[in-house]
């Protein structure tokens, strides 16, 4: 089965959405991502029982933070689908792409992306 | 026997006492309370003067008490532990005594969260139990709260306290009342009684322990104006109980205000005739002071004794 979905999606694989850290998502935006969607397993189907449920809570917290810092929480979304739902994945990818196109590019790009201002950890 | 106040004399001579309540205004004119004072003066033995009740800033209880006294009613100064530390309390108590105040009601006070200054800091340096105890110590042992001797002119108040039969844990309420009597409370005013059955159970326990022989209990009653008021108290006020039947009765009444007064009159008669150990009523006609004379007259408590 070959399905078409937007080519502008870059997939970052994780062992479980339960592994998602606020920093990973924020980092993606800081590096210039226009939008991020977190694709977790169906609720109730998590191999680690509650990984996807916890991920959703974290995603919601980051959405709030994105609103507060001016990036906009709408650029981040969590979806639940199983690995067998290829068509659903394509649909979500297209849906999210459409949403982000509507929102326009990551406002940080307009502000000029440059990572050299990031001091990083000194320890 | 020297009586500390007229209320003391009334109660100790075995007469059924009637007290009411006057809430000081949210401004600095005494005109309103003087009006209430005129209305009540022939019908009550004394009136409580609330101390920023529900934590809303109002004229000071002591200042309002001075006005009321001039107007011809013996005041019962309420003093909460919420707003004063032990220094301010003693200072105010001595000042109040010098101004002719003779009765003090000790209470914890509603939490400031309910009032118009929810961001204020509460004090609760001492609690109501300790206030009772310390007031007695001031009077009987001539000592400040710290234990230091009061050389002369110690305030000699008739000490009152409150009891709430409708708060929990129910079985400890009688214990706590007894504790207050041990501490030095001489008269007790109860929270508004709407659930008569529970109040009767409470009084049964009080009598079993003989507490009614050691303290004068005044049953708190409140005439209700509407079923909405009753429902609000039932659901919105902690430590109060209103049976559904009461709400229904007000709801079905042709004239709810009249019915509210009828209920209050019935309750007082019931308490006076059937509940042993109760030595008076405390009528809390909240924002409805003008109805008190009618209630007193209809319950056969008029004219007042002494």
């Amino acid at each position: 089965m070959r399905l078409q979905y937007s080519t502008n999606i870059r997939i970052v694989e994780m062992t479980c959405t339960g592994n998602i850290d606020h920093r990973v998502i924020l980092g993606a935006f800081e590096e210039g991502a226009d939008g991020v969607f977190v694709a977790g397993c169906m609720e109730g189907d998590c191999h680690f029982l509650k990984g996807n449920i916890r991920a959703r809570k974290r995603v919601n917290a980051v959405k709030k933070l994105l609103d507060e810092i001016g990036v906009g929480g709408d650029r981040l979304e969590m979806y639940n689908l199983s690995s067998a739902q290829g068509a659903r994945f394509a649909e979500i990818a297209n849906e999210m792409t459409a949403r982000i196109k509507e929102l326009g590019p990551n406002p940080l790009k307009e502000a000029g992306i440059s990572n050299n201002l990031k001091g990083g950890d000194v320890t | 026997m020297n009586y500390l106040s007229k209320l003391h004399q009334t109660l100790d001579s075995g007469k059924f006492a009637v007290t009411a309540e006057i809430g000081p205004p949210k401004h600095s004119s005494a005109e309103g309370i003087m009006h209430h004072c005129d209305m009540l003066k022939n019908h009550v033995d004394a009136t409580n003067i609330t101390d920023c009740q529900t934590a809303i800033v109002r004229m000071s209880s002591i200042a309002a008490g001075v006005h009321i006294k001039k107007g011809g009613i013996e005041p019962i100064i309420q003093m909460t532990c919420r707003d004063r530390n032990r220094i301010a309390m003693q200072s105010d108590l001595m000042g109040a005594y010098s101004l002719g105040m003779r009765n003090v009601l000790c209470l914890a006070g509603d939490h400031q969260r309910f009032g118009n200054h929810p961001g204020s800091k509460n004090v609760y340096d001492i609690d109501s139990m300790q206030l009772i105890y310390l007031l007695r110590q001031m009077r009987d042992e001539k000592k400040f709260f710290s234990g230091e001797e009061i050389k002369e002119h110690q305030p000699e108040f008739y000490i009152g306290a409150v009891a709430n039969p409708f708060a929990d844990p129910f079985e400890f309420r009688v214990d706590r009342l007894e504790k207050k009597v041990e501490a030095g409370a001489q008269f007790i005013q109860t929270q508004c009684i709407f659930d008569m059955e529970r109040f009767e159970r409470f009084m049964e326990l009080v009598r079993e322990r003989g507490i009614d022989q050691r303290v004068h209990i005044l049953a708190g009653v409140t005439p209700l104006k509407s079923w909405r008021a009753a429902q609000y108290i039932q659901t919105g006020v902690a430590g109060m109980m209103v049976p559904d039947s009461l709400i229904e009765r007000l709801k079905n009444a042709e004239d709810p205000k009249k019915e509210g007064v009828n209920i209050c009159v019935e309750d007082i008669k019931h308490i006076k005739e059937n509940i042993k150990g109760v030595h008076g009523v405390h009528i809390m006609a909240i924002a409805w002071e003008e109805v008190v004379p009618e209630i007193v007259e209809r319950t056969g408590l008029f004219p007042r004794p002494v």
Partner: protein
């Protein structure tokens, strides 16, 4: 432990609005355990601030570091290298840590957290105040439940008339400490202890006595 909570982003942003290079200093003590000022929270806050500032056209350079403890001069001293060339420091420690930094360094030091209370963890993500730090423990008299801080009126001879169905008058979600004390004393067969009138508390050992100091001469060096 000390329970703290991060201040709103906007409030922190305003504190450092005029500075270009800012160090975000976390603390590996209590605030790491209560998830408000550890390494992770420090990095999230620094990243969020960088993004926010860039969007505002006022880019921010950040340095992040998490000290072992900010309430100990030994670890504060070690921050010198991290802090030396920044314009300001955001401390993600409790109020103690913020003050230790301000005492040691001449940089502008601001707090990222509100220090809430001394408490413990009830479940993951829920912390509750349990100790009023009054300096004169009375838990032996109250069955191990503190009325100083768990009763909204700090009543020592409770419960007051606002206790109903086991809850406090201030909120139906708040347990009445005196109901808990009553139940505990009943269970332990010690109800008669509650009949004793607890005398007024000497608050001079609490905050009311001024800043407190605790000294153990036997462990002092030198």
């Amino acid at each position: 432990m000390i329970i703290a909570q991060q201040k709103p982003i906007q409030e922190i942003a305003e504190m450092i609005a005029e500075y270009k290079k800012v160090a975000f200093i976390g603390c590996a003590g209590c605030v790491t355990v209560c998830l408000s000022g550890g390494e992770k929270e420090t990095e999230i806050l620094a990243t969020a601030m960088r993004i926010k500032r860039k969007l505002e056209g006022n880019p921010l350079e950040t340095v992040t570091h998490t000290a072992t403890r900010q309430c100990d001069p030994e670890y504060v001293e070690a921050l010198e290298d991290v802090i030396k060339d920044v314009d300001a420091v955001v401390s993600l420690a409790c109020g103690v840590g913020v003050q230790y930094l301000a005492e040691r360094f001449d940089n502008w030091i601001v707090p990222a957290l509100n220090t809430n209370f001394a408490g413990g963890s009830r479940e993951h993500g829920v912390w509750e105040e349990n100790c009023g730090m009054c300096g004169n423990c009375i838990l032996d008299k109250t069955g191990g439940i503190c009325p100083i801080v768990r009763c909204s009126k700090s009543i020592l001879n409770g419960p007051c008339g606002g206790s109903q169905n086991g809850k406090c008058e201030i909120d139906k979600e708040v347990d009445c400490a005196w109901q808990l004390i009553y139940e505990r004393m009943k269970k332990m067969g010690k109800l008669e202890k509650l009949m004793e009138i607890e005398p007024p508390k000497d608050w001079s050992t609490s905050r009311d006595g001024g800043p407190r100091k605790s000294v153990r001469e036997d462990v002092m060096i030198g």
